[in-house]
Amino acid sequence: MTSARLPWLPFTASLLTAFLASAASAQTIYVSNEKDNSLSVIDGKTLAVVDTIKVGKRPRGITLSKDGTQLFICASDDHAVQVLDLASRKVVHNLPSGEDPEQFALSPDGKSLFIANEDSNVVTVVDVPSRKVAFQVDVGVEPEGMDVSPDGRWAVNTSETTSMVHWIDVEKRQVTDNTLVGPRPRHAEFTKDGAQLWVSSEIGGTVSVIDTATRQVAKTIDFHIKGVAKDRIQPVGVKLTDDGRHAFVALGPANHVAVVDAKTFEVKNYLLVGRRVWHLALTPDQKTLYTTNGVSSDVSVIDVDSLKVTKSIKVGRYPWGVVVKG
């Protein structure tokens, strides 16, 4: 009886600390501005830009370290991944990244960074503690989207020109399978349980849902917005809620975020946001979604419960990546 109850203890405790943490510290949103070589810092409560941090050239993909104290930034034109200390808001050191890093993903243990090198058709894997390149894997032409499965077994990369998802077996350090998807795949995102991989195709105008076990496309989702030409519908960023209810898809120059029922794969709604919506980020409590709108240089705020856009906030020029620190 006691042994059966024990596993709940750490779970309850972590839930409690998570709750206390979210109640105690307000949320902060970090946005990379591609043209301004800076990060905009937004206060989650007042929804105002409270700081702008100068970083390397052409910052695009950004991600938080697992302990939430550091932010990794792809400084594409500096050919480096910068590490920003969030407390001091200063770049503390660079990580080697290979050429033109665009997107990256952190392994579940937070130790390996998988970086897509757009210009050199490789994925570079960096060991974060030693700040050294662990290995490189050849993939298709123009690699972009990156994610690591929750169990850490697979690292996936999408290559824009080859229109494929490359499955990298992390143990074997090589590509063991490929899945053909719609033209110009931009972004890949595993579901929380790792059973599915959602991949957006910018030119194809679709999102492919891939079954992880078979690595076959299980479902292709199409988008239609009344009054918007089909060729403007260019899916890029994808975000899935942890409860498996919603998938949000940024539709680029269509200026809308699609709300997809993640169980039935039906598109339920299209939400109007700023121009050329690119990437998305959910708050840890899953109540708010932030979008970066590149051309209109702002960030739109979406209330997940009511599925309504509540506000748009001006940031730097061409906002690209976004993360929320809880």
Binding site: G227, V228, R232, A254, L272, V301, V309, K311, S312
Partner: protein, 267 residues
């Protein structure tokens, strides 16, 4: 005091009854803005959103933008309708009965004016209901917060209608009002397009739109729908209401305006 109240009730009730009994008028008052909403706004859809201007906090489709303008349109036509029925009452003689009341003329006119405003609020309420069913997003409290703006804007346009009624001698002349009052007021305003668009088109158009009191009436309604007050619009609409009301009272004074024609009728 109760005599005043009875007179007030009587005049307002007569306006509302007149409105309720004329189904075509109610339908007409609704169909006009709805045609604009379903047809004109559909043609101008702007599915990609229009730029953010206060009081909006994010991007909106054109249908959302045009709603306050169409509310203004309902009140504008209602004001003109009030003016038309005033001319009609005068020709039919019922106006004379009203004005023979011992109560002050200004009070009688105000009651008549409020009767018209009540009717316009009923029309707007029906319009807002359809807008909601159509799926246009407005704050939950919008129908309540917009009430003071509706009252003020209705008074302004009703008073303007009275001024016009006092200067129009025959019912037939009324068609000119459409051409020279309603169309310029409506099209040279922020009802259909944001003023920055007009600024791009040319400074003259922008100035005309900015000076148009109807623009400020629409902006007052627009901000009120979102629970906000536009100070400039409030000042302009209040000023214009007082000005038109003063002109209306003057137009109906026995010594001038309509009253000055009394001798020929009496003689």
């Amino acid at each position: 005091m109760s005599g005043w109240w009875i007179a007030f009730q009587g005049i307002v009730a007569r306006e509302v009854l007149r409105f309720v009994h004329q189904r075509e008028r109610f339908l007409g008052a609704l169909v006009r803005p709805l045609v604009w909403l379903f047809v004109f706004a559909a043609g101008f859809r702007a599915a990609l959103g229009i730029a953010i201007i206060p009081p909006y906090e994010t991007y909106i489709p054109y249908e959302t933008y045009i709603v306050p303008g169409l509310i203004g349109m309902i009140q504008l036509f209602n004001g003109m309708q009030g003016s038309l029925s005033m001319v009609y009452d005068r020709e039919m003689g019922s106006m004379r009965i009203l004005l023979t009341s011992p109560l002050p003329r200004g009070f009688l006119l105000l009651a008549r004016l409020l009767g018209g405003v009540v009717v316009s609020v009923l029309q707007v309420a029906a319009f807002l209901l359809i807008v909601r069913l159509y799926g246009i997003d407005l704050p939950a409290w919008a129908p309540l917060t917009v009430l003071p703006a509706l009252l003020l804007n209705g008074l302004m346009l009703g008073a303007l209608g009275m001024v016009l009624a006092s200067t129009i001698r025959q019912l037939e002349n009324f068609a000119g009002v459409m051409n020279f009052v309603v169309f310029p007021l409506f099209f040279l305003s922020s009802a259909l397009y944001p003023l920055y668009r007009m600024e791009e088109a040319g400074p003259l158009l922008w100035w005309l739109c900015s000076l148009n009191p109807f623009t400020h009436g629409v902006e007052l309604i627009r901000f009120a729908l979102y629970g906000q007050v536009d100070g400039l619009a409030l000042a302009v609409v209040t000023g214009a209401t007082l000005l038109f009301a003063a002109l209306a009272v003057r137009g109906y004074s026995p010594a001038r305006g309509m009253g000055s024609r009394a001798p020929s009728a009496a003689g």
